[in-house]
Symmetry: C2
Subunit: 286 residues, 2 copies
């Protein structure tokens, strides 16, 4: 990780690849009890948020991630009313979830309040639904929150976390997934950001294996473009209790809100797993 | 462009974003009459080819580009027999084209023989069809080659070029597209790599406008992941003489060769244009 001249470059060890932006100015920096958050203004990508040196989001391309971590799961569930977001402190996922009129309550539980404070200031468009009466914003430990969730009370759990190191490490193992399994109703869905589908297939295999240990029995990994993350290609892994991943196509076609990437046709496309991914994930159920 | 420590970083001006790789060793360098070609060995991506400092391909992820520049066009054409590849000196596109048993002759015309010589040495898997009796490898000016092509003699023209600066500049204007239009049969298809669908939509608009001036009247831009190019998300733009982009789905489902990314379902997915792209390309026919 280094800032040199007017470019910020993130050297990402796990994939041996780097990604970066041309910077105009550093706008802010805060060291929270959990991590260092920095904000830059870029020349072409709007504002940029780093957490411990890792690119979290840019104004220009975060819509890809936020739409794809939310809408495929919500249109796969038959009638999502109660949604929990673990992480997601920038509030962009919450905004997408609340676009669904049927959602009655959405709780966002991020351990670090400073992420939300920075988002309110530098990515206000992502926070525009924070005052929705259906929204609940908690700043607490997501592992504990899920462990204390009443059994069978949740329709969709969205794990919108940083990489599986540091504060997010506890969100990638059997114990956490067992809490999610317990909290979800029988037709519930767990969806989690699952890194690069090209460069981190081993991590996706490991995640699915931990989810399986916790009781989940069907899995689907949806790839999508995300320029600001390593390799520019990212994924969301969905897990269910033995149900498939057909989705409410008519509802998705007729959705009463605008999106910039997600459509029913794109959703169908994301369900078409490329052969190299299917081969690598073979042997893990689903 | 700079090599520092053990990372190679390409700072890409037009998108204000950078991409890079962790390097183990520099393997080769040649200055051809047209450009500087460098080969590195990376820690995670196999071999890496740079042309004038721009990342051209890596061993690990070139299959995405080569499959998506080839198979959608060839499965869209009703019966492609005569294919011309302009550029494509690494021979990976030629290899994909020759997987189609119906192709009778495929000519690759790259201005720079040194690209092919380097590919033979450092990416031999891409050159495995170079001795196919249907293959013709020319090292010549692609603009002149297309201008001299007999009218109505070609089914598919694939423009597999570098960015629209330097040697490839002449491959992005009306004069070149007019030669392609003339060389193509009525049901022919022109397909060209068209940069980042997120960050370079203006360039795609400009390309389509030039193609339209040359007579092409229907267009479709297919996005696909490509980690080694700026933003990690790339595109191929197809142009036809007033025909649509429905493809031979049954033939694609039953294709007699293996692919790692392309499938009929992925092809359908790539035809689903995201709303932000459709909006930006609106006003240009197709």
């Amino acid at each position: 990780m280094s800032t040199q001249d007017n470019w910020y470059i993130e050297h990402f060890g796990p994939t041996g690849s780097a990604i970066g932006y041309r910077i105009e100015a550093k706008l802010d920096e805060v060291q929270s009890p959990f991590q260092k958050i920095e904000i830059y203004r870029t020349t072409d990508w709007g504002n940029l948020m780093l957490i411990d040196g890792a690119v979290m989001l840019t104004s220009r391309d975060n819509f890809l991630y936020h739409e794809m971590i939310s809408h495929p799961a919500l249109f796969t569930h038959p009638e999502p009313k109660r949604v929990v977001i673990i992480g997601g402190g920038d509030c962009g996922t919450l905004r997408e979830v609340l676009k669904h009129p049927g959602v009655a309550r959405a709780t966002q539980c991020d351990i670090d309040e400073q992420v939300t404070r920075m988002a309110e200031k530098y990515f206000p468009e992502l926070c525009e639904s924070n005052a929705d009466p259906r929204a609940e914003l908690l700043f607490d430990d997501g592992v504990a929150y899920m462990a204390n969730c009443p059994a069978g009370s949740v329709d969709v759990v969205i794990v919108d976390s940083t990489d599986p190191v540091g504060p997010a490490e506890g969100l990638f193992n059997k114990a956490f997934y067992a809490s999610c399994f317990r909290a979800l109703k029988d037709d519930g869905i767990l969806v989690q950001q699952s890194e690069s589908p090209l460069a981190q297939l081993e991590l996706i295999r490991a995640m699915r294996a931990e989810m399986a240990k916790a009781g989940f029995s069907s899995f689907k990994t949806l790839p999508f473009p995300q320029p600001c993350y390593p390799t520019g290609w990212w994924s969301a892994t969905l897990a269910r209790k033995g149900r498939d991943f057909g989705f409410r196509e008519a509802a998705a076609e007729a959705k009463p809100f605008a999106t910039r990437y997600y459509t029913a046709a794109l959703h169908r496309g994301a369900l078409a797993t490329p052969p190299f991914m299917a081969e690598a994930l073979e042997g893990v159920r689903g």
